[in-house]
Point group: C2
Chain length 542, copies 2
Amino acid sequence: MTAKINFGLSCIEKLNKHATLINCPENHLKNLIKTDGRFEGFTLHGVNIFYDYSRQRVDVEAMNLLFELAEKKKVKQQFSDMVAGQKVNVTENRAALHTALRDFSNDPVFMDGNNVMPDIQHVQNDIKDFSAKIRSGSLTGSTKKPFKHIVVIGIGGSNLGTEFVSTALSMFSDRKIEILYLSNVDIHHFGEILSKINHETTLWIIISKSYTTSETKANETVVREYLKSNGLDPSKHIVTVTSKGSPGDETALSNRKTFHMFDFVGGRFSVSSAVGGVPLSIYLGYDMFERILKGANEMDQHARNEPVENNLPMIAALISFWNISILKYTAMAIIPYASPLSRLAPHIQQLFMESNGKSVTRDGKTLNDPAGYIIFGEPGTNAQHSFFQLAHQGNPFPIDFIGVVKPYYDKFKCHSNGVTNHQELWANLISQPEALATGKQDKHPAKCFEGNRPSSTILIEELSPENIGRLLAFYEAKTVFEAFLWDINPFDQFGVELGKTMASTYRKEIASKNKDSNYEFGKSNAISNFYLKTLFSGKLEE
Amino acid sequence: MTAKINFGLSCIEKLNKHATLINCPENHLKNLIKTDGRFEGFTLHGVNIFYDYSRQRVDVEAMNLLFELAEKKKVKQQFSDMVAGQKVNVTENRAALHTALRDFSNDPVFMDGNNVMPDIQHVQNDIKDFSAKIRSGSLTGSTKKPFKHIVVIGIGGSNLGTEFVSTALSMFSDRKIEILYLSNVDIHHFGEILSKINHETTLWIIISKSYTTSETKANETVVREYLKSNGLDPSKHIVTVTSKGSPGDETALSNRKTFHMFDFVGGRFSVSSAVGGVPLSIYLGYDMFERILKGANEMDQHARNEPVENNLPMIAALISFWNISILKYTAMAIIPYASPLSRLAPHIQQLFMESNGKSVTRDGKTLNDPAGYIIFGEPGTNAQHSFFQLAHQGNPFPIDFIGVVKPYYDKFKCHSNGVTNHQELWANLISQPEALATGKQDKHPAKCFEGNRPSSTILIEELSPENIGRLLAFYEAKTVFEAFLWDINPFDQFGVELGKTMASTYRKEIASKNKDSNYEFGKSNAISNFYLKTLFSGKLEE
């Protein structure tokens, strides 16, 4: 491909054209990875994260075209606008300032002419103070016993990010206070939590920005009932994280304390706010939470300042765009070769699929193909024993492999087959991307591996709070960059509204029947009527 | 479509032709679900499971064509052959007799002329006896204390099914003995387990059919080291589940006891064998395990005996075939509206993707399109707050919704918004399939819902061991039926071999370097060399 031939074509046309070349057998990954300087040219190292895209189905020309696209879409400028407090969430007329939550520069960040930093710092100081008191035991439950469990009540953005971080860093906990998550409205989830706690020594952290989330409200109701039935004072056992003035604010509700969330931080980007801050500071200590924020901030600055061709989340976003919109893969897997990162995939699944699973551009035009893709994943090597059969021989999907260079846990370094557990893990981490890329021929068709399956490998040196912060911010920035490449707004989520409206209708039907057992289900259709009736009969009729 | 027009076309051609009709706007799901008798015609009830496919994008003609396909492919006959002990795993010349593990009929099941039932019953009696002794405390660890924790060491098929079942039925545990899973070779996983157990009161159950699985062997080595360092006798704290004569058999190894697995049961189908039997019988009691088996057996008989058009897993398999091979969806989600079913999706992900993620037919011909698809899922309503934005407005994917009519946990039935938690859960379970199917128009494009997104709804009456067994066997039979529709062998997994071979190469490189720090990494390429060096340096060099 020369500049001449492409002259006059749009970026996307050029990319599509180039894809036909990449799809030729001579550009099979087994050949691409052997080209001169492949490793040096297709790896990046920044803010303590190593990113290897040498096993992606790109060449220099593809990357140049993608860089051109990033420039044309002004992706970096849009990111800077976001960080600077502009209302990039256009459909809801809001800013998206999750980056300000970890800005320790002492520079003001203005939104609508007001500096948001003092409010952010106020909440942080509050968290610091409160978490220290809980950890020291100077703040207790209503029977004067120190807290031994915290239960986060929240769903989606109110729990997935925090759960990822607390799982990733659990080895830094002194285990004096355990953390649990009550997300599902299913009463079995509450029952399971009860089997693990003692009522006197449990603090409930209820998280909902609007404080109207039905699941969270329902679970709060159950918890208040539970506390009362045990003779405990809810105002000593419940704190909330919510917007100022919401129905869950301490001024409106009898609870111990409220930590405020801000309009300019979306749920799925909120782990750096009080949403993550309160539980993580109690579980790990505020210092640890601050170290997470500092790591995230480094990545934010990298994403904002590094030129496109040297920018980790930008390259990762461009690769995703290439894989999805040009090469037409429909899903991506995240496979961390680290057991503590087991909750990374569910968090990124929400972060990305809720942000970018959209059919319209930010200015309301319908896209030819919907944006977004399915993200799923399990830790390696577990995933190898689960769905890697399909990864190797079924419909291909790109993979992010993630490795940790140095294990935190340094006991029991005994050898099996001549290697330690950590080395065994790495033997697999090294092998899988290579096997997927190169494939292997065999005279028996069932033993043939087509190869040409793309992946990236991301390394962090160790499971430190800073690195977890960097990883979080890496995927946040990648998600936002991808949205900008697709011209969509990653900060709204109108797609969840229809289900909510319908649930509200059926909830009313059910509530009416609760009040009056003679109530006849009205507006619903035959199918839904069956389910309503089954719910009330408690039986499956043959 | 009339029979005349289709005359002479193959089943697949007819299905493809019919798909063009289904893809017409007038056959949008919002219209299909309103057709006369839709609910009655597209729901099934059998063996205490209700299956509603009225919101799938099929009509009577589509179903008739699919039934024709099932007949043509002799799917039921093949299932009967499997149950009868024929060597349906042709590439490995083995039978696939997981159904025999739950056959209580007293009829013989012959393989190679030998009745396999006595061996199965012998192992079951062994499990019954052993688990009772552990539960009563008459068998103890080496310091004479009764066991309080069991840790299952196994990966893939050796843990996912058991983990699903133990999570689904945890409310039936008396909580005297807790169950944990050590699957990942990552040493952090072992460290996490240690933070939860006491060495004196823990029994380790090591599960590997061949006893050559590297991850499991590595974890076993670590456990033996750990037991020794605590002055405990491994032969009192370790039992194994493995093939007769394997390196992990009690005759070969110093362990307390071995329970045998059989060649004719594949890992991902093995939860009914000693793989699930030993841990589940200790955790829940043997009676509960037997009730699971009896439920599974009912579904096996249903799958084998019911005519195609009345056969739950068959209909479900035909719908999958239609969705994937004809309508070209690339993924499917499993969304149980029940917190205890949170590990169902990871189990089915393995069961299905490892069974059917294949590119060749059972007789070695390459398929035009690879079979299989991606399966992922989280419980509802959690999933609604995670990836349902994309489900409603991004690229569509079919969904299995699963509901439980009656909650097991019956405390705290207080109301929020006029409904109980269970009712709130159901208001959502009722709404989502409807919202996905019907969609909604709006003058604002971001608030438009295209609808036409297919789903099934599966109901069980309660979370009983029988119903969990039925659900397990439902997905097992569905997986096998789908394989037969695609003409593939669901019982081999050659796709995982290349990665294993490569890992073995790199393991040797690492072991050589462990022995001699001057060893130079040899045969590997520049990319993998970097990873090997990084592993040994323990650092990410800038």
